[in-house]
């Protein structure tokens, strides 16, 4: 089967999944106690029924739920994700505003964790049983077991407050007016801590997976064949073991990369990173239904997108899949 057909098939399924997500989330979110008009009224410090009714009418919350549902789904089908009550702008614009920051953060963290995880995993596997292997796996286990937000707090305490090396929050020096290289450096400095905290956990995951996968592949017959050819260990490791060992890592990473996009709530909160994870949390507390639904939809779409990307990568690595045959 061709790549294109496979992607189209996936996309068709994805569309159905997404629609189901929209429907379920709609009712799920509307089941939460409290409504956005009351929240906004509350924030204003004083409100009467007239004011709340005005807000309700403005947001269309005075209509029966099925009408709201019908309108919402109708809008989504035309790529209109509705209007954010809390932020007073179209949800799609709002999300598109925030998405780049999230992507920057998560993709950096993801790339870094994948790279470091694989490298350290390989290193550990190469030294299996020796103390350096234990040290690396022990470190991985430690990262794996540490609560993310706690690492974040400790990292801020150490690197920003005590050592004053890196900014503690935000994604740029506001109003510094940097351009060109200076801007890039500035962004990188801001990116360092959040990406690191977010990445550590995943690095541990990939590290452990790479290590065990490499060890498993090392036992396979074709590795013995390669040795029988007289290849050097370095080439065997790179050409034969690594590529085969990466297959499961790729699968896992693909699954997680998508989840990361919507799941960086904690990191974005602690580091004041203006991404969609935080947007989701803020919208939740404000019962900003449309935004919340929008974020869910977009992050689900990201998961699906990354799954498709994973498939493509997988096809590039593994000829068996490309041929559509059984493994």
């Amino acid at each position: 089967m061709t790549l294109l057909a496979a992607i189209l098939a996936r996309a068709a399924k994805a569309a159905i999944t997404l629609l189901m997500i929209v429907i379920l989330n709609f009712f799920l979110i509307h089941a939460a106690p409290g409504d956005p008009a009351a929240v906004m009224a509350g924030e204003n410090g004083a409100a009467d029924q007239i004011y709340i009714d005005q807000l309700r009418a403005q947001f269309g919350l005075d209509q029966p739920l099925y009408v709201q549902f019908y309108k919402y789904v109708g809008g989504v089908l035309q790529l209109d994700l509705g209007y954010s009550y809390r932020q007073q702008m179209p949800v799609l614009d709002l999300i598109l505003d925030r998405l780049p920051a999230t992507l920057l953060l998560t993709m950096t963290a993801f790339g870094m964790s994948l790279l470091l995880g694989v490298v350290f995993g390989l290193a550990a596997a190469a030294r299996v049983g020796r103390w350096s292997d234990s040290a690396i796996t022990g470190m991985a286990l430690l990262f794996y077991a540490t609560p993310l937000y706690w690492v974040a707090l400790m990292a801020v305490l150490l690197f920003s407050v005590q050592l004053n090396w890196l900014p503690a929050f935000g994604y740029e020096s506001v109003g510094a007016g940097y351009t060109g290289l200076a801007m890039v450096l500035d962004r990188l400095r801001h990116l360092a801590l959040p990406a690191l905290t977010l990445g550590l956990f995943f690095m541990a995951v990939y590290l452990r997976m790479t290590r065990s996968s490499v060890l498993e592949v090392s036992q396979m017959d074709f590795v013995k064949t390669a040795r029988a050819k007289g290849l050097s260990e370095g080439i065997i490791r790179r050409r034969h073991i690594l590529r085969n060992a990466l297959l499961p890592v790729v699968t896992l990473a693909g699954l997680q990369a998508g989840q990361l996009v919507g799941g960086a709530v904690l990191t974005e909160t602690v580091f004041a990173w203006p991404g969609i994870g935080r947007l989701m949390f803020d919208s939740l507390t404000a019962r900003d239904y449309n935004t919340l639904l929008g974020v869910f939809l977009v992050s689900a779409a990201m998961v699906i997108l990354f799954n498709i990307l994973t498939d493509i990568v997988y096809r590039l690595i593994d000829p068996r899949i490309a041929a559509g045959g059984a493994a």
Partner: protein, 279 residues
């Protein structure tokens, strides 16, 4: 069985993990004996550093509550949430995955679409929304964690069942005239237990982390002292009293670490083929 025990005991990490976990369990179980007072009780001056005053080995928090008591009572929450949510996730995931893998066809298709659907929504975000909707309470938190953690179980069980149901002993059972359910629950599932047990031990660890994260975001049950709550509450004073967030953080770290070590130990012991490779 004894074979299993010796293999498990050979793994030093796993033993260490077991030791830590036993300590945590003992502390949790005997919390009321160790600290008869409620962990919320304001007993001393606030912000006492560890070891400053007798009877407050870990000092006091922002309101002058005994940190040691909080830690011990928090262990109960972590363990309960971890165990119960894992149990619930297994109760959802195992039957679903087993039926999907065993019957295949549209049952499989349907079950997997359903699972995929849950995996498409970022799980932490879903947990947050669920807790917010159900209002933070021990049961709602546990349930939310269970709901976001069952899909991997279903997938694992399905994969195991898929491979086991092609095994010849299943054919043999069928020839013996056993009903499908007896084959599934009497022959197939018991053989899939090892990976499920390993996964479950890791799920308990993940659940503990999830609970603490929710608590940290203020979505914990306000009536019970938990480690996540302690960190969340101490975060605002991290500059004046860093140890208040450090101590419960280490508690989480150790417990989760212990569970992971046990999980790896189980994996090695239940799966001797892999065990030899790991070395």
């Amino acid at each position: 069985m004894s074979d299993f025990m010796t293999r498990f005991a050979r793994n030093r990490g796993a033993l260490l993990g077991l030791l830590i976990l036993i300590c945590v369990v003992l502390l949790a179980v005997f919390a009321p004996l160790l600290f008869p007072d409620s962990p919320w009780k304001m007993v001393q001056r606030p912000f006492l550093p560890p070891l400053a005053v007798e009877g407050m080995p870990l000092g006091t928090d922002t309101l002058g509550r005994n940190v040691a008591a909080g830690l011990v009572y928090g262990a109960r929450v972590s363990l309960i949430v971890g165990l119960v949510s894992t149990a619930v996730a297994l109760l959802i995931g195992i039957p679903l995955g087993a039926l999907a893998g065993f019957y295949g066809g549209w049952i499989d298709e349907g079950a997997m679409r359903f699972t995929e659907f849950f995996q498409t929504i970022p799980s932490f975000a879903l947990a947050i929304v669920l807790v917010a909707i159900l209002e933070p309470h021990l049961t709602s938190i546990t349930l939310a964690i269970a709901i976001v953690s069952w899909p991997p179980v279903a997938r694992l069980v399905r994969a195991e069942v898929l491979s086991l149901r092609r095994r010849e002993f299943v054919d043999a059972a069928r020839l013996a005239g056993l009903s499908n359910m007896r084959i599934l629950f009497g022959h197939i599932l018991p053989n899939a237990m090892s990976p499920i047990i390993v996964m479950a031990s890791l799920m308990v660890a993940t659940a503990i982390l999830l609970e603490s994260s929710l608590s940290f975001l203020g979505l914990g049950d306000p009536n019970i002292m938990s480690w996540g709550y302690m960190i969340g509450a101490a975060r605002t004073v991290i500059r004046t009293a860093w140890w208040l967030s450090f101590i419960p953080g280490v508690a989480i770290l150790l417990t989760v670490l212990a569970l992971n070590l046990i999980g790896e130990g189980l994996n090695d012991a239940l799966n001797p083929r892999l065990a030899r490779k790991g070395r």
